[in-house]
């Protein structure tokens, strides 16, 4: 299996209120088709690491490769294009645009990418919603759905551009156990059957245990 994402000697410092090293010499790889969980106590640096991997946080030392391309040092606009095409996001909160329908929410990243005509994007969005069992809700406003459904719409949105990696920051953090199971099953299904790579930061030990690989972090370092 080839590595999709790789870090070399990543260090990060916080300067407020006092200088503090959050990440120390992080080196690891993510392979294609992996469901990877990052766990650790709060303050261990796992979220900070995820945001560096996501390319949104550019203030670090060391090197980050995505798809064998050195990403460190690219301009903000180049990184935005890269995220648009190669990374899907699922957060603890769904962050759907309340005024838009579920279908439109799913379509937005693809419309931004602009590689396909609108008609095709719409079809693809329907397909993604179908994978997540939401085809009936497609035309409802995003704000009218339940929390679990909203999170699933957010996952469909993360999938729309067939990203290289999906990154999740506590993707089940706001969900009850039933919805957590649903989301996990979806993640597992995506990795097993569609070869999707997923990195998720989580507090949920059950979630972590079921995943393919666990990275545990402590005091800014990877334990195993």
């Amino acid at each position: 299996m080839k590595a999709i994402l790789k870090t070399e000697n990543v260090d990060k410092f916080f300067y407020q209120p006092v200088e503090f090293q959050v990440l120390k010499n992080i080196e690891f790889e993510v392979k294609k088709g992996e469901l990877l969980s990052m766990i650790g106590k709060s303050g261990s640096g796992k979220s900070t690491l995820l945001y560096i991997l996501s390319t949104m946080d550019t203030d670090y030392k060391g090197k980050l490769f995505i798809d064998n391309q050195l990403v460190t040092g690219l301009s903000k606009d180049e990184l935005a294009d890269l995220r648009n095409e190669k990374i899907g996001f699922v957060f603890q909160f769904h962050y759907l645009l309340a005024e838009f329908s579920c279908l439109q929410n799913v379509m937005i990243p693809a419309l931004k990418l602009g590689k396909l005509p609108k008609k095709e994007i719409e079809e693809r969005a329907y397909q993604k919603l179908e994978i997540l069992g939401l085809q009936d809700q497609a035309l409802k406003p995003a704000s009218k759905l339940s929390g679990g459904q909203q999170q699933r719409v957010a996952i469909a949105r993360a999938l729309i551009n067939d990203p290289l990696i999906i990154m999740g920051d506590e993707p089940t953090g706001n969900l009850d156990s039933k919805n957590t199971d649903i989301v996990f099953d979806i993640f597992q299904d995506l990795t097993r059957n569609y070869g999707q790579t997923i990195i998720a930061v989580t507090h949920d030990d059950d979630f972590a245990k079921k995943s393919d690989r666990i990275i545990e972090m402590k005091d800014g370092q990877i334990l195993k």
Partner: protein, 407 residues
Amino acid sequence: MNINNTIAKTYIFSNKKLTGVAVLGVLLGMSVYIFMNSLLVGFDKSSNESIFRNTSHIRVYKDDEISKVLPKNSPEDFIIINPKVVPNNTTIINPKMILEVILRQKEVIVATPQVNTSVFYNNGKSQISGLSVGIKPDEANLMYNIKSFMVDGNFDLLKSTPSGIIIGSGISAKMNLAIGDNINLTSSKGINRNFKVVGIFKTNNSAIDKTKSYINLAASQQLLKEGNSYITDINVNVNDPELAEQVATKLTQITGYKAEGWKQANETVMATNKMRKMIITFVSLTILLVAGFGIYNILNMTVSQKINDIAILKAMGFKGKDVIKIFVTQAISIGVMGVIGGVMMATILITILKKVYLGGDIGYFPIDYEPQKFLQGVVIGLIITFFAGYIPAKKAANVDPVDILRK
């Protein structure tokens, strides 16, 4: 439609009330701006019009040069006892040649000689003092458009009647004179002459209507006991009244006589106009600016409300300039709606006010559709809208998604 525009459109229509208020602000600011500036142009036009009924753009005349007092100890000093300062002759020498020279200038449309005489109008026992203006009828009409304010008689009759006179309506009322009646004029040189009333004019400026009359140039020369080369003034109209001052300077240099532009001759009126212009410009710009603040406020609020949306959009690959486009598009849309409404509103206001009769010197309310002011308003309105949107948009573009999403 581009995704940025789709998002902008959705934001605009999802909060109709806020958008409506912002649009209304621009609409009012816009209409008041256009309206007040059109009014300003109207005021200036009407004030100029009333000036140009009695004043030409440029007046060329022999300035009073006071003779110099003899210097002390000069050889002549002892000959003259009790010397007086005597004004020189006020005639223009060789007026025909001067006229030709003036007419050769490309800016000049009309140039006509004129002789002003202080006279007494006598009819029976009543007597009024006033000013009789000796003119060449055709040229003078070209210059002052006298026919436009004639109320009785026929201006053209002045040409064929050497002793004809056109009097102001005030004189006609006071002396009970109608067309065809005779009137006697006494000049400052003591000459008496009878004239026949061929026309009556009314400028709505009562001071002029009560004192002024037009007679033939030759008649006024006779009243002054002068020959037909006696010309005190040459009046000149140019194609652009705004440039009268420059042309006047040029004419002074060419002819050697004093040439005075109308603005110089009407300094008080000009100062009033200037003051009015400053006040109206200031007030109307302020109103437009306030409308801009309205947009700024509402967009600032939207940016704060939608900060999560902005963060996730940026996470999903929207660039800073995309975010700017989204919010500037909103501002410009509000601006365009407001501007269109404002233009319509201003048109309605002007249409109504045009029909209001004020009377006096002014007549109907002096306002008209001024395309230039409409255009100016639209451009300034859109510029203000753009910046009112750009500042909050810039703020939105600088949102760091990590700060928002990590909460």
